[in-house]
Symmetry: C2
Subunit: 206 residues, 2 copies
Amino acid sequence: MAEVEVPDIVIGRLPIYLRALKHLMEDGQEFTSSQELGRILGIGSAQIRKDLSHFGEFGKQGTGYEISFLSDQISKILNVDRDWSVALVGFGDLGQAIAHYGGFAAKGFHIDEIFDNEPAKIGEQVNGNTVRDVAELVEVVSSKKIKMAVVAVPAMAAQQVTEQLVEAGVRAILNYAPITLNVPDHVRVQYIDPVVHLQRMTYYLA
Amino acid sequence: MAEVEVPDIVIGRLPIYLRALKHLMEDGQEFTSSQELGRILGIGSAQIRKDLSHFGEFGKQGTGYEISFLSDQISKILNVDRDWSVALVGFGDLGQAIAHYGGFAAKGFHIDEIFDNEPAKIGEQVNGNTVRDVAELVEVVSSKKIKMAVVAVPAMAAQQVTEQLVEAGVRAILNYAPITLNVPDHVRVQYIDPVVHLQRMTYYLA
């Protein structure tokens, strides 16, 4: 672990670097540079070098970064060189889309439990999971020591579900509900808010 | 329009400020400060003041920002003080979740056209829309002068759909497919990639 705390904004860029490196690797490329990564990602090359320097020396003057090595190192830093178990709460349209989405498991995030409160949905089978009653959430999630959850319930239910997840020991929540969640300091929340992305683009559409 | 180009990263923070201001307004608050916004958002207050200073003087020493005024100003800057017509491509699980999601229309983004390539889906009714054959995309989107689109098709279809959208005159794309889209310089793309958000949190879960 780093001696000095690395700013969260730097941590937030590492998955973006990782994704770009994986794409380059898929294209068969072996080496890259902070300049090339910068061009691909629209980030300054000095920023990329500075971000990576928090964790060590990964490149060589002249040859740049060996892609597979840098990708492995970033995976280790982010703790994504292992599999993670994830609980999904909410099995409406969105929850179903998330449960069927192959992109999570491909990156080591396995949805191992699914919860909903609708009797018609409880007991449904999806990818080897059985949708459980949300009343079982605290017991199941805590006994399985699941630390990550995806919240895909309506806005009005999101805070209550979050409190149950926190009680069960979850420390990282990906929230699709359009509200800000109140959580204790030891719990992280990331928001998926498509409107924010649309609003960022309309600036350029005048 | 600003004389000097405002960095895109600043533009990207404005919707976040706007969302926080709307929440404060809903709570009945009239004034706020860069310090309070910073605390809510986990962004430095100096950064917030600097971001806003690109566009003018919005606050007063002592009283801070009048929330409704600042919110109106940011809405104007972002061009979200008007309604936008959006085309949705893909009517699978995810497309259906997006079509049913009330959060877009509430913020002025109206899904006015939906396209899919599956015969069973074409003709389906949703919120007053009829799902159309994607073969009609270029003609319909260009004749309706729709400038924004949401791509919710499988990864392997996303680039082709994107090219049709660009041909139709779309200039802003919200992409849910897990691939990087190639677009001309005049077209903006924002990515919804939940894995990036999960990977950002696992850093803290070691």
